[in-house]
Symmetry: C2
Subunit: 196 residues, 2 copies
Amino acid sequence: MAKIKPGKNASKKDVITKKAAALFKSKGFSSTSMRELAETVGVEAPSLYNHIGSKSELLQGICFKVANAFTMYLDATENNTDNHATRLEHIIRFHISMMLDHFDEVYVANHEWKHLKEPYLSNFLMQRRGYEKRLISLMEGGIAAKEFKQTNPYVAVLTILSAVRGLEFWQQHKKNISSQVLEDDMVSLLLKGINK
Amino acid sequence: MAKIKPGKNASKKDVITKKAAALFKSKGFSSTSMRELAETVGVEAPSLYNHIGSKSELLQGICFKVANAFTMYLDATENNTDNHATRLEHIIRFHISMMLDHFDEVYVANHEWKHLKEPYLSNFLMQRRGYEKRLISLMEGGIAAKEFKQTNPYVAVLTILSAVRGLEFWQQHKKNISSQVLEDDMVSLLLKGINK
DNA sequence: TATAAAAACTAATAAGCATTAGTTTTGCAG
DNA sequence: CTGCAAAACTAATGCTTATTAGTTTTTATA
Protein backbone atom coordinates (compact mmCIF):
# COMPACT_ATOMS: atom_id res chain seq x y z
CA MET A 1 0.00 0.00 0.00
CA ALA A 2 0.95 3.64 -0.33
CA LYS A 3 3.67 4.92 1.90
CA ILE A 4 3.17 7.82 4.25
CA LYS A 5 4.41 10.88 2.44
CA PRO A 6 6.02 13.50 4.63
CA GLY A 7 5.48 17.12 3.63
CA LYS A 8 8.30 19.60 3.19
CA ASN A 9 9.05 20.24 6.84
CA ALA A 10 6.87 17.59 8.41
CA SER A 11 8.14 14.22 9.53
CA LYS A 12 5.89 11.21 9.11
CA LYS A 13 5.16 11.42 12.79
CA ASP A 14 3.93 14.97 12.24
CA VAL A 15 1.60 13.84 9.48
CA ILE A 16 0.14 11.13 11.68
CA THR A 17 -0.25 13.53 14.60
CA LYS A 18 -2.08 16.06 12.48
CA LYS A 19 -4.55 13.48 11.19
CA ALA A 20 -4.96 12.17 14.72
CA ALA A 21 -5.83 15.65 15.97
CA ALA A 22 -8.53 15.96 13.34
CA LEU A 23 -9.99 12.58 14.27
CA PHE A 24 -9.75 13.11 18.01
CA LYS A 25 -11.54 16.39 17.52
CA SER A 26 -14.45 15.06 15.54
CA LYS A 27 -14.94 11.65 17.18
CA GLY A 28 -13.23 11.99 20.53
CA PHE A 29 -10.07 10.22 21.67
CA SER A 30 -11.70 7.06 22.94
CA SER A 31 -13.92 6.62 19.92
CA THR A 32 -11.06 6.98 17.49
CA SER A 33 -9.46 3.65 16.66
CA MET A 34 -5.94 3.14 15.43
CA ARG A 35 -7.39 1.27 12.46
CA GLU A 36 -9.37 4.36 11.61
CA LEU A 37 -6.40 6.65 11.98
CA ALA A 38 -4.34 4.28 9.85
CA GLU A 39 -6.96 4.37 7.15
CA THR A 40 -6.98 8.16 6.90
CA VAL A 41 -3.20 8.04 6.77
CA GLY A 42 -3.34 5.40 4.05
CA VAL A 43 -1.62 2.54 5.80
CA GLU A 44 -2.37 -0.54 7.92
CA ALA A 45 -2.73 0.02 11.65
CA PRO A 46 0.41 -1.76 12.84
CA SER A 47 2.52 0.30 10.44
CA LEU A 48 1.77 3.39 12.48
CA TYR A 49 3.92 1.95 15.23
CA ASN A 50 7.01 2.38 13.10
CA HIS A 51 6.57 6.11 13.66
CA ILE A 52 4.80 6.58 16.95
CA GLY A 53 4.97 4.95 20.35
CA SER A 54 1.31 4.57 21.17
CA LYS A 55 -2.13 6.13 20.87
CA SER A 56 -1.57 7.84 24.20
CA GLU A 57 1.64 9.47 23.02
CA LEU A 58 -0.25 11.07 20.17
CA LEU A 59 -2.60 12.73 22.61
CA GLN A 60 0.27 13.81 24.83
CA GLY A 61 2.06 15.38 21.89
CA ILE A 62 -0.99 17.36 20.89
CA CYS A 63 -1.93 18.55 24.37
CA PHE A 64 1.54 19.69 25.38
CA LYS A 65 2.33 21.38 22.10
CA VAL A 66 -0.73 23.57 22.64
CA ALA A 67 -0.08 24.14 26.33
CA ASN A 68 3.49 25.15 25.62
CA ALA A 69 2.47 27.61 22.93
CA PHE A 70 0.22 29.44 25.37
CA THR A 71 2.77 29.37 28.14
CA MET A 72 5.48 30.76 25.89
CA TYR A 73 3.34 33.62 24.70
CA LEU A 74 2.53 34.55 28.25
CA ASP A 75 6.24 34.49 29.11
CA ALA A 76 6.85 37.02 26.37
CA THR A 77 3.95 39.20 27.47
CA GLU A 78 5.18 39.40 31.02
CA ASN A 79 8.50 40.79 29.83
CA ASN A 80 7.04 43.84 28.19
CA THR A 81 6.05 47.17 29.64
CA ASP A 82 2.58 47.82 28.24
CA ASN A 83 -0.14 48.62 30.73
CA HIS A 84 -2.38 45.83 31.98
CA ALA A 85 -5.26 46.51 29.63
CA THR A 86 -3.03 46.37 26.57
CA ARG A 87 -1.34 43.19 27.69
CA LEU A 88 -4.71 41.58 28.35
CA GLU A 89 -5.91 42.55 24.92
CA HIS A 90 -2.83 41.01 23.31
CA ILE A 91 -3.38 37.79 25.18
CA ILE A 92 -7.02 37.64 24.16
CA ARG A 93 -6.04 38.19 20.55
CA PHE A 94 -3.43 35.46 20.78
CA HIS A 95 -6.01 33.04 22.13
CA ILE A 96 -8.36 33.91 19.32
CA SER A 97 -5.70 33.42 16.67
CA MET A 98 -4.69 30.07 18.16
CA MET A 99 -8.31 28.96 17.98
CA LEU A 100 -8.58 30.02 14.38
CA ASP A 101 -5.19 28.82 13.13
CA HIS A 102 -4.73 25.58 15.08
CA PHE A 103 -8.29 24.60 15.64
CA ASP A 104 -7.98 20.82 15.77
CA GLU A 105 -5.08 20.78 18.19
CA VAL A 106 -6.52 23.42 20.50
CA TYR A 107 -9.87 21.69 20.49
CA VAL A 108 -8.27 18.39 21.43
CA ALA A 109 -6.21 20.00 24.18
CA ASN A 110 -9.37 21.62 25.54
CA HIS A 111 -11.63 18.58 25.35
CA GLU A 112 -9.63 15.38 25.41
CA TRP A 113 -6.95 16.08 28.01
CA LYS A 114 -8.82 13.96 30.51
CA HIS A 115 -7.72 10.87 28.62
CA LEU A 116 -4.07 11.63 29.26
CA LYS A 117 -2.35 9.02 31.38
CA GLU A 118 -0.40 9.79 34.51
CA PRO A 119 1.93 11.50 35.02
CA TYR A 120 1.02 13.54 31.94
CA LEU A 121 -2.46 14.23 33.20
CA SER A 122 -1.17 15.81 36.40
CA ASN A 123 1.51 17.74 34.55
CA PHE A 124 -0.99 19.10 32.11
CA LEU A 125 -3.37 20.22 34.83
CA MET A 126 -0.55 21.82 36.78
CA GLN A 127 0.64 23.73 33.76
CA ARG A 128 -2.88 24.86 33.06
CA ARG A 129 -3.44 25.94 36.61
CA GLY A 130 -0.17 27.86 36.59
CA TYR A 131 -1.23 29.64 33.44
CA GLU A 132 -4.54 30.63 35.00
CA LYS A 133 -2.81 31.94 38.09
CA ARG A 134 -0.57 34.19 36.04
CA LEU A 135 -3.59 35.58 34.21
CA ILE A 136 -5.29 36.22 37.51
CA SER A 137 -2.23 38.15 38.66
CA LEU A 138 -2.41 40.29 35.55
CA MET A 139 -6.06 40.92 36.26
CA GLU A 140 -5.38 41.84 39.88
CA GLY A 141 -2.67 44.22 38.78
CA GLY A 142 -5.05 45.88 36.38
CA ILE A 143 -7.72 46.22 39.04
CA ALA A 144 -5.22 47.70 41.49
CA ALA A 145 -4.07 50.13 38.82
CA LYS A 146 -7.72 51.13 38.27
CA GLU A 147 -7.52 50.03 34.65
CA PHE A 148 -10.16 47.36 35.23
CA LYS A 149 -13.42 47.46 37.10
CA GLN A 150 -13.60 46.17 40.65
CA THR A 151 -14.53 42.52 40.17
CA ASN A 152 -13.52 39.07 41.26
CA PRO A 153 -10.38 38.45 39.19
CA TYR A 154 -10.96 34.74 38.92
CA VAL A 155 -14.43 35.25 37.54
CA ALA A 156 -13.05 37.72 35.02
CA VAL A 157 -10.33 35.36 33.80
CA LEU A 158 -12.76 32.47 33.65
CA THR A 159 -15.21 34.51 31.63
CA ILE A 160 -12.63 35.67 29.14
CA LEU A 161 -10.99 32.29 28.63
CA SER A 162 -14.33 30.62 28.20
CA ALA A 163 -15.63 33.17 25.77
CA VAL A 164 -12.61 32.67 23.57
CA ARG A 165 -12.88 28.91 23.81
CA GLY A 166 -16.36 29.26 22.44
CA LEU A 167 -14.84 29.99 19.06
CA GLU A 168 -14.92 26.28 18.54
CA PHE A 169 -18.54 26.79 17.52
CA TRP A 170 -17.36 29.33 15.10
CA GLN A 171 -16.11 27.03 12.40
CA GLN A 172 -19.39 26.57 10.58
CA HIS A 173 -19.98 30.31 10.25
CA LYS A 174 -16.51 31.18 9.04
CA LYS A 175 -17.74 32.25 5.64
CA ASN A 176 -20.29 34.77 6.84
CA ILE A 177 -17.99 36.98 8.93
CA SER A 178 -14.34 37.79 8.46
CA SER A 179 -12.10 36.67 11.28
CA GLN A 180 -10.97 40.26 11.75
CA VAL A 181 -14.53 41.40 12.52
CA LEU A 182 -14.94 38.43 14.76
CA GLU A 183 -11.77 39.16 16.67
CA ASP A 184 -12.48 42.87 17.07
CA ASP A 185 -16.10 42.38 18.10
CA MET A 186 -15.21 39.76 20.66
CA VAL A 187 -12.39 41.82 22.14
CA SER A 188 -14.63 44.85 22.34
CA LEU A 189 -17.43 42.85 23.93
CA LEU A 190 -15.16 41.46 26.61
CA LEU A 191 -13.46 44.74 27.37
CA LYS A 192 -16.44 47.07 27.12
CA GLY A 193 -19.56 44.91 27.43
CA ILE A 194 -22.67 44.61 25.35
CA ASN A 195 -24.84 47.22 27.05
CA LYS A 196 -24.72 50.79 25.83
CA MET B 1 -26.20 -8.25 45.77
CA ALA B 2 -27.85 -5.07 46.91
CA LYS B 3 -30.89 -3.95 45.06
CA ILE B 4 -31.11 -0.56 43.45
CA LYS B 5 -32.89 1.66 45.92
CA PRO B 6 -35.07 4.33 44.36
CA GLY B 7 -35.25 7.63 46.22
CA LYS B 8 -38.47 9.33 47.19
CA ASN B 9 -39.50 10.63 43.78
CA ALA B 10 -36.88 8.93 41.65
CA SER B 11 -37.46 5.70 39.74
CA LYS B 12 -34.60 3.24 39.47
CA LYS B 13 -34.08 4.45 35.96
CA ASP B 14 -33.59 7.94 37.36
CA VAL B 15 -31.00 6.70 39.79
CA ILE B 16 -29.08 4.96 37.02
CA THR B 17 -29.31 8.01 34.78
CA LYS B 18 -27.96 10.28 37.46
CA LYS B 19 -24.97 8.04 38.13
CA ALA B 20 -24.43 7.73 34.40
CA ALA B 21 -24.33 11.51 34.03
CA ALA B 22 -21.66 11.73 36.71
CA LEU B 23 -19.57 9.05 35.02
CA PHE B 24 -20.05 10.40 31.50
CA LYS B 25 -18.95 13.76 32.80
CA SER B 26 -15.77 12.61 34.45
CA LYS B 27 -14.66 9.87 32.06
CA GLY B 28 -16.48 10.62 28.83
CA PHE B 29 -19.26 8.58 27.26
CA SER B 30 -17.07 6.21 25.30
CA SER B 31 -14.70 5.54 28.16
CA THR B 32 -17.49 4.70 30.56
CA SER B 33 -18.34 1.02 30.53
CA MET B 34 -21.63 -0.48 31.55
CA ARG B 35 -19.70 -2.64 34.01
CA GLU B 36 -18.40 0.49 35.62
CA LEU B 37 -21.79 2.13 35.75
CA ALA B 38 -23.22 -1.04 37.23
CA GLU B 39 -20.57 -1.04 39.92
CA THR B 40 -21.33 2.50 41.05
CA VAL B 41 -25.00 1.58 41.11
CA GLY B 42 -24.19 -1.54 43.14
CA VAL B 43 -25.34 -4.21 40.72
CA GLU B 44 -24.06 -6.47 37.95
CA ALA B 45 -23.97 -4.98 34.46
CA PRO B 46 -26.72 -7.05 32.85
CA SER B 47 -29.12 -6.10 35.65
CA LEU B 48 -29.11 -2.53 34.39
CA TYR B 49 -31.03 -3.71 31.35
CA ASN B 50 -34.05 -4.44 33.51
CA HIS B 51 -34.40 -0.68 33.84
CA ILE B 52 -32.91 0.91 30.77
CA GLY B 53 -32.85 0.15 27.09
CA SER B 54 -29.23 0.75 26.26
CA LYS B 55 -26.19 2.86 26.96
CA SER B 56 -27.19 5.17 24.12
CA GLU B 57 -30.62 5.77 25.61
CA LEU B 58 -28.99 7.01 28.79
CA LEU B 59 -27.11 9.64 26.83
CA GLN B 60 -30.22 10.60 24.90
CA GLY B 61 -32.20 11.03 28.08
CA ILE B 62 -29.58 13.31 29.59
CA CYS B 63 -29.02 15.45 26.51
CA PHE B 64 -32.68 16.07 25.74
CA LYS B 65 -33.68 16.73 29.31
CA VAL B 66 -31.16 19.57 29.36
CA ALA B 67 -32.01 20.85 25.90
CA ASN B 68 -35.71 20.91 26.76
CA ALA B 69 -35.13 22.82 29.98
CA PHE B 70 -33.37 25.60 28.10
CA THR B 71 -35.93 25.67 25.34
CA MET B 72 -38.79 25.90 27.79
CA TYR B 73 -37.25 28.77 29.68
CA LEU B 74 -36.74 30.66 26.45
CA ASP B 75 -40.38 30.05 25.53
CA ALA B 76 -41.41 31.67 28.79
CA THR B 77 -39.04 34.59 28.29
CA GLU B 78 -40.40 35.37 24.88
CA ASN B 79 -43.89 35.76 26.29
CA ASN B 80 -43.02 38.56 28.65
CA THR B 81 -42.78 42.25 28.04
CA ASP B 82 -39.49 43.28 29.63
CA ASN B 83 -37.05 45.16 27.45
CA HIS B 84 -34.32 43.28 25.63
CA ALA B 85 -31.57 43.93 28.13
CA THR B 86 -33.65 42.64 31.02
CA ARG B 87 -34.69 39.55 29.14
CA LEU B 88 -31.09 38.85 28.18
CA GLU B 89 -30.01 39.20 31.78
CA HIS B 90 -32.67 36.72 32.91
CA ILE B 91 -31.53 34.23 30.33
CA ILE B 92 -27.91 34.58 31.37
CA ARG B 93 -28.88 34.05 34.98
CA PHE B 94 -30.89 30.97 34.05
CA HIS B 95 -27.91 29.52 32.22
CA ILE B 96 -25.71 30.15 35.20
CA SER B 97 -28.14 28.52 37.59
CA MET B 98 -28.50 25.49 35.32
CA MET B 99 -24.72 25.14 35.31
CA LEU B 100 -24.57 25.34 39.08
CA ASP B 101 -27.60 23.20 39.93
CA HIS B 102 -27.43 20.50 37.26
CA PHE B 103 -23.77 20.43 36.55
CA ASP B 104 -23.30 16.81 35.50
CA GLU B 105 -26.21 16.75 33.09
CA VAL B 106 -25.41 20.10 31.51
CA TYR B 107 -21.76 19.15 31.17
CA VAL B 108 -22.69 15.91 29.43
CA ALA B 109 -25.11 17.65 27.10
CA ASN B 110 -22.41 20.16 26.24
CA HIS B 111 -19.58 17.70 25.74
CA GLU B 112 -20.87 14.27 24.87
CA TRP B 113 -23.72 15.00 22.47
CA LYS B 114 -21.54 13.94 19.56
CA HIS B 115 -21.93 10.34 20.64
CA LEU B 116 -25.68 10.47 20.14
CA LYS B 117 -26.91 8.13 17.44
CA GLU B 118 -29.06 9.22 14.55
CA PRO B 119 -31.71 10.48 14.42
CA TYR B 120 -31.13 11.88 17.90
CA LEU B 121 -27.90 13.55 16.91
CA SER B 122 -29.60 15.54 14.17
CA ASN B 123 -32.55 16.39 16.38
CA PHE B 124 -30.29 17.62 19.10
CA LEU B 125 -28.27 19.81 16.77
CA MET B 126 -31.42 21.22 15.21
CA GLN B 127 -32.88 22.08 18.58
CA ARG B 128 -29.64 23.71 19.59
CA ARG B 129 -29.41 25.68 16.39
CA GLY B 130 -32.99 26.84 16.83
CA TYR B 131 -32.21 28.00 20.33
CA GLU B 132 -29.21 29.98 19.11
CA LYS B 133 -31.28 31.60 16.40
CA ARG B 134 -33.85 32.80 18.88
CA LEU B 135 -31.13 34.30 21.04
CA ILE B 136 -29.68 36.04 18.02
CA SER B 137 -33.10 37.52 17.30
CA LEU B 138 -33.28 38.85 20.83
CA MET B 139 -29.85 40.38 20.38
CA GLU B 140 -30.81 41.97 17.06
CA GLY B 141 -33.92 43.40 18.64
CA GLY B 142 -31.85 44.92 21.42
CA ILE B 143 -29.38 46.41 18.96
CA ALA B 144 -32.19 47.89 16.87
CA ALA B 145 -33.73 49.33 20.04
CA LYS B 146 -30.35 50.88 20.89
CA GLU B 147 -30.22 48.95 24.14
CA PHE B 148 -27.12 47.09 23.00
CA LYS B 149 -23.98 48.28 21.27
CA GLN B 150 -23.65 47.94 17.53
CA THR B 151 -21.98 44.54 17.13
CA ASN B 152 -22.29 41.31 15.24
CA PRO B 153 -25.20 39.60 17.02
CA TYR B 154 -23.86 36.13 16.43
CA VAL B 155 -20.52 36.99 17.97
CA ALA B 156 -22.31 38.45 20.97
CA VAL B 157 -24.46 35.38 21.52
CA LEU B 158 -21.49 33.10 21.04
CA THR B 159 -19.45 35.05 23.54
CA ILE B 160 -22.15 35.04 26.17
CA LEU B 161 -23.06 31.38 25.83
CA SER B 162 -19.44 30.36 25.92
CA ALA B 163 -18.62 32.47 28.93
CA VAL B 164 -21.42 30.86 30.86
CA ARG B 165 -20.41 27.40 29.75
CA GLY B 166 -17.04 28.11 31.24
CA LEU B 167 -18.59 27.70 34.66
CA GLU B 168 -17.72 24.07 34.27
CA PHE B 169 -14.27 25.04 35.50
CA TRP B 170 -15.88 26.63 38.43
CA GLN B 171 -16.55 23.54 40.48
CA GLN B 172 -13.20 23.35 42.23
CA HIS B 173 -13.41 26.95 43.44
CA LYS B 174 -16.95 26.78 44.73
CA LYS B 175 -15.89 27.24 48.33
CA ASN B 176 -13.93 30.45 47.83
CA ILE B 177 -16.67 32.58 46.29
CA SER B 178 -20.40 32.51 46.82
CA SER B 179 -22.43 31.64 43.76
CA GLN B 180 -24.28 34.94 44.11
CA VAL B 181 -21.06 36.93 43.73
CA LEU B 182 -20.09 34.71 40.84
CA GLU B 183 -23.40 35.22 39.10
CA ASP B 184 -23.47 38.97 39.61
CA ASP B 185 -19.86 39.49 38.57
CA MET B 186 -20.24 37.44 35.44
CA VAL B 187 -23.46 39.17 34.42
CA SER B 188 -21.88 42.55 35.01
CA LEU B 189 -18.79 41.60 33.06
CA LEU B 190 -20.79 40.45 30.06
CA LEU B 191 -23.14 43.40 30.07
CA LYS B 192 -20.69 46.15 30.95
CA GLY B 193 -17.19 44.82 30.21
CA ILE B 194 -14.04 44.68 32.24
CA ASN B 195 -12.46 47.99 31.25
CA LYS B 196 -13.28 51.03 33.33
C1' DT C 1 24.16 -3.20 -8.63
C1' DA C 2 24.72 -4.80 -3.84
C1' DT C 3 23.57 -3.79 0.96
C1' DA C 4 21.48 -2.08 4.96
C1' DA C 5 18.01 0.40 7.09
C1' DA C 6 13.29 2.01 7.13
C1' DA C 7 8.80 1.01 6.80
C1' DA C 8 5.33 -1.56 5.03
C1' DC C 9 2.67 -6.00 5.48
C1' DT C 10 -0.02 -10.32 7.66
C1' DA C 11 -1.15 -12.88 11.56
C1' DA C 12 -1.93 -13.31 16.18
C1' DT C 13 -2.72 -12.09 21.19
C1' DA C 14 -5.18 -10.94 25.03
C1' DA C 15 -8.30 -8.01 26.83
C1' DG C 16 -12.56 -5.36 26.99
C1' DC C 17 -16.97 -4.11 25.16
C1' DA C 18 -22.42 -3.92 25.04
C1' DT C 19 -25.80 -6.86 25.10
C1' DT C 20 -28.83 -11.38 25.21
C1' DA C 21 -30.46 -15.79 27.13
C1' DG C 22 -31.70 -18.38 30.66
C1' DT C 23 -32.11 -19.03 35.61
C1' DT C 24 -32.53 -17.90 40.44
C1' DT C 25 -33.65 -14.83 44.07
C1' DT C 26 -36.36 -11.25 46.17
C1' DG C 27 -40.32 -8.78 47.77
C1' DC C 28 -44.97 -7.82 47.83
C1' DA C 29 -50.40 -8.81 47.36
C1' DG C 30 -53.80 -11.82 48.44
C1' DC D 1 -47.96 -18.80 53.51
C1' DT D 2 -48.53 -18.93 48.44
C1' DG D 3 -47.78 -17.33 44.01
C1' DC D 4 -46.47 -13.94 40.75
C1' DA D 5 -43.87 -10.30 38.93
C1' DA D 6 -39.79 -7.59 39.27
C1' DA D 7 -35.20 -7.63 39.32
C1' DA D 8 -31.22 -9.73 40.45
C1' DC D 9 -27.73 -13.27 38.97
C1' DT D 10 -24.28 -16.29 35.83
C1' DA D 11 -22.81 -17.61 31.46
C1' DA D 12 -22.15 -16.79 26.94
C1' DT D 13 -21.98 -14.37 22.29
C1' DG D 14 -19.79 -11.91 18.92
C1' DC D 15 -17.32 -7.94 18.08
C1' DT D 16 -13.70 -4.40 18.56
C1' DT D 17 -9.67 -2.86 20.62
C1' DA D 18 -4.43 -1.55 20.98
C1' DT D 19 -0.43 -3.60 20.40
C1' DT D 20 3.43 -7.24 19.35
C1' DA D 21 5.95 -10.63 16.49
C1' DG D 22 7.76 -11.97 12.52
C1' DT D 23 8.30 -11.27 7.60
C1' DT D 24 8.54 -8.98 3.22
C1' DT D 25 8.88 -4.95 0.47
C1' DT D 26 10.60 -0.47 -0.47
C1' DT D 27 14.05 3.16 -0.48
C1' DA D 28 18.37 5.27 -0.38
C1' DT D 29 23.30 4.92 -0.22
C1' DA D 30 27.93 3.44 -1.52
